[in-house]
């Protein structure tokens, strides 16, 4: 099945984000789920609709050969399956990742007074990552302003 109407694509991707948020909720990632729901389904959909409003809503029939994308996708899948199938099984407490987990859990309340460990890791233990993340938002904001503000839209056959 192939969807050529891009509005349908946008709606589906919004639904997908909500599904993803529910899965994340099941996996105990409440903060991530809240963010995915608001960002993926909210911001993402608004941005996509805004773009479609300013551009086209129908996709042209592609003329590409599907061999290269198929090859890349299958190759990547093979490596990934080969790799992840030897990782520790899902959901157990005795994995390398979990060995460091209690560190954060036990230290958070005592060292930062914050019960939501995700908040304390986000803002303090790995606060520099979050500074970087905020910088990413800043960069994206300025980038969109630089691209879409001021300049008068030129004709489609502008010669430079």
């Amino acid at each position: 099945m192939r969807v050529r109407n891009l509005f349908a694509v946008v709606v589906l991707s919004g639904i997908y984000s909500f599904l993803m948020a529910s899965v994340l909720l099941v996996l105990d990632a409440v903060d991530v789920a809240l963010t995915e729901a608001s960002v993926g389904a909210g911001v993402g959909t608004v941005l996509l609709l805004g773009t479609l409003y300013l551009t086209k809503t129908e996709e042209a029939r592609p003329v590409h050969s599907i061999l290269l994308p198929l090859f890349v996708a299958v190759g990547t899948a093979a490596v990934l399956i080969w790799g992840v199938s030897a990782t520790p099984p899902f959901g157990i407490a005795d994995t390398p990742v979990q060995l460091a987990g209690p560190d954060y859990i036990h230290r958070s309340l005592a060292e930062t007074g914050i019960a939501n460990v995700v908040s304390s890791v986000l803002a303090s233990y790995r606060g520099f990552d979050t500074l970087g993340e905020t910088t990413v938002i800043f960069t994206a904001g300025i980038a969109v302003l630089m691209l879409l503000k001021h300049a008068i839209p030129p004709g489609p056959d502008r010669k430079d």
């Binding site: 409440v30 930062t112 007074g113 908040s119 303090s124 606060g127 905020t134 938002i137 904001g141």
Partner: protein, 139 residues
């Protein structure tokens, strides 16, 4: 009489609640899911909803583009500034421990300020990006 009167009335009713919810998410981040980023998205969405229902021009009067554009770097500056204060109080960059008398309170203050910075940048960026797309005009 415009046909979208229901939308307008409903929007007017729920807007304050959305803002309150944003503030709740912002400040409750220490005890439950949430924080500056999520709150910023919700607050930004409030303005966007207002702009969608009442039009771009009234929204721009309410929240001027120049203000939003200044807030984008301002939020990151608050964040980075807290880090600099960490320097000035004798710690490493982004060390909040010396912001108050005891390290735990210092951490709480640091996290609070940093989340405020994130909130400012995120909400402003949301609105700025929406203004940029909406103000572009189809051709």
């Amino acid at each position: 009489m415009r046909l979208d009167v229901i939308l307008r009335v409903v929007t007017k009713v729920i807007l304050p609640f959305m803002l309150v919810f944003a503030i709740y998410v912002q400040f409750h981040g220490d005890y439950g899911p949430g924080g500056g980023f999520q709150a910023g998205v919700i607050a930004g969405a409030t303005i966007i909803l207002y702009a969608l229902i009442y039009g771009l021009a009234p929204a721009r009067r309410l929240v001027p583009a120049a203000l939003v554009e200044a807030m984008i770097p301002l939020g990151v500056l608050i964040y980075a500034g807290v880090g600099v204060v960490g320097w000035l109080t004798g710690g490493n960059y982004l060390d909040y421990s010396h912001l108050a008398h005891d390290p735990v309170h210092g951490q709480e203050w640091g996290v609070f300020l940093v989340e405020a910075g994130v909130f400012v940048t995120v909400s402003a960026t949301m609105v700025a990006i929406f203004y940029a797309f909406a103000g572009r005009g189809r051709r």
